[in-house]
Assembly symmetry: C2
Homo-oligomer: 442 residues x 2
Amino acid sequence: MKVEPKTLAGFTDLLPWEASKKEKLLLIFRDVFKSFGFVPIETPHLEYLDILVGDKEEEINKQIYSFKDKGERLVGLRFDLTVPLSRYVVAHYAELSFPFKRYAIGNVFRGEKPQKGRLREFTQCDFDIIGSFSPSADAEILEIASKALTKIGIAHKIKVSSREVMNSYINTIQGEDKIEVILRALDKFDKIGEEGVKKELKKIGLSESEVKELFVLISIKDSNWRNALEQAEELAKGRSQVFTAGIKRLYDILEIAESGGAKNLSIDFSIVRGLGYYTGFVFEALAVDYPDIGSICGGGRYDNLTDRFSTGKIEKEGKIKGAVGAAFGVDRILSVLKEQESQLLDSLPSLFMVLGEEVSFTLAHSVAARARELGAAVYIYPERASFKKQFKFADKAGARFVLILGEEEVSAGFYTLKDLKTGEQKKVGSIEEVVNIYRKNL
Amino acid sequence: MKVEPKTLAGFTDLLPWEASKKEKLLLIFRDVFKSFGFVPIETPHLEYLDILVGDKEEEINKQIYSFKDKGERLVGLRFDLTVPLSRYVVAHYAELSFPFKRYAIGNVFRGEKPQKGRLREFTQCDFDIIGSFSPSADAEILEIASKALTKIGIAHKIKVSSREVMNSYINTIQGEDKIEVILRALDKFDKIGEEGVKKELKKIGLSESEVKELFVLISIKDSNWRNALEQAEELAKGRSQVFTAGIKRLYDILEIAESGGAKNLSIDFSIVRGLGYYTGFVFEALAVDYPDIGSICGGGRYDNLTDRFSTGKIEKEGKIKGAVGAAFGVDRILSVLKEQESQLLDSLPSLFMVLGEEVSFTLAHSVAARARELGAAVYIYPERASFKKQFKFADKAGARFVLILGEEEVSAGFYTLKDLKTGEQKKVGSIEEVVNIYRKNL
């Protein structure tokens, strides 16, 4: 019986040129992570459902792919890499050193309505520091974000805010119990705009003047973050110690991050990044030339990471309190690079070997083996085919060089190398020379 | 409510040093694949169940993690990367060029009884050539297997057999209908040994002399594959043309593979590699010094790959007939490397920065940024802590060098670099020099 070769809605195949770009992008991220002394970890794709589901996270629960396995265990596919991280650090507490700087790259699953640019399975690329409250840790996360985006050639800006600052400011306007609903309204800024948010705030019960007061903070958007923080500090005067301390901490973080090479930092208190989760500074990075693609990297401080899992002993030692981290939006970054027509991640052109019909595979494979030893990527067309067919294939595969090994070449002892870009074709005496030319033109 | 941070039986976390080794191993594999002109692809972890389940594959069906998703679709987690490959090449037939050389690295899921060294989620690393019947394609698979294992420093032997040869030979002894049960018995060689297999064969209905005849072929184990194939050819005389052709083809494959650099090839007709699936040559690679770990790479030719999915048009053009490929056993290879105490995949030691209590993070981050630009991996301890505590951490983290940035260093303008391996400590004038020393000692 024939089966239709379809994939599930929201799940997708990557074609070779897409998978190849993604692989190279992740390699660059890994290099940057490692240059900051971060180490990789891996956790399973499938976990006990109660590990994944938090108390209040009904929204998330609805999105989790969950089922009963054959042993009647209630299990689920991970929907992010942060919940598994929190389980991980508690489970392996004794084997790890804290502060623990790690990265994790893997696929996650969410049963959301699939939309353009939003799949049900997608790749996350997270980096976090667990077990530190220091602004040095916060700054390092910003440095990595900026350095990696710089390295892949995306002009970016990084908008920084702080939950500490926002919470304490809101607290001076309205009661503590309103913080969450107000943040929820602010989080819709991108979708419904300033007027929409204001309307929502009034619905919640804020007066015209309270909304206005709230917007004084949110509207501070000086491109110089030092100026922005000065304006915020003015606002803080006599208002709340927590607010002042929050501003001071933001200043420390940004100053350290900037000396560590983070670029294009700015303050934008309208950045909220979801609910509940974050406890300190938060940020989002955007591609300057493609703002519609949305945040391409985001994160912040979330100090209560391990609360659901940690045991008495760990809590007492307090070692894995304090967490800060972020994630790159791999698919969105690939979209930006595509829009930019970046060639950074393009495949290396291989040396494509074209064989005369009488030339043995034995000879071809031994020549190819030598070329590979010298550092070339060599493609041998495995079938017996005409020169024309082989050239056509090489061209379609995007090869830069064709190495012709025809009957004449073999009997006279030379190679013909054709540059498909320039059309130039020449006789070359040795495979060493062939690889030299190929490598020089990569 | 506290939740116990446990993982499901058969699922496991990787600690940083394990994940780091695995990452480096996969990088070496990728480099080898690319050097042969192979390209990566990706397919989803989750597929429609009827895509995954074949007609006769009840055994596999029982092992599949399957469930109904929230849209009442019957879905399953992939149990290998080959079934998704077959769906992929049919679905993307028009976008790909054939012969199509691809690799895929990803996790697969099998609800088997978890045992030592056999998990329910594990990583597969596959490489295949689709759309070629050529011995050049078969040989390339052997070359890649041997080259990658050589590159990671595992002494290996590659045992080659052929389904063509085995099937036609069995056919001359017993009827065609017995081939499958006989192969099934042979496949147990590793588990029940020669005597056990002989007993099974008799149970199937083979006479003493038929078993003896079967074992004439299986017992050919000359370490020189040319001699082994000569002996097999002798056996073939007057027996069957298919048998003779199968031996000739094996000869071609091994000769091409050897000229392409494949090492330690031998003939072993007891290699069966499961049922139904393979149609031509098959092979298994073993670590010479750790045979108990079992096959660390295996595969062969399986020409009917796309039958379940292919449509009339594709079948008529016949372009994606012919397939050959293999997979590395990532976890087993990591076990071998661990047994060998190989340091190939060990982490690069980072430059660990130790800060005086009065030295600012701002300064530390700017020095680190410069060192990273020069190519060092730098770890900054993010907390304020004593020299003693920071040194202890550096030591535990396996750092080779500690860069001391104390109050004295900052005011006098130098760096102190300590080599944790030799205990040597010296004053260094510039960060360039620090990185030079660090890089020279990687």
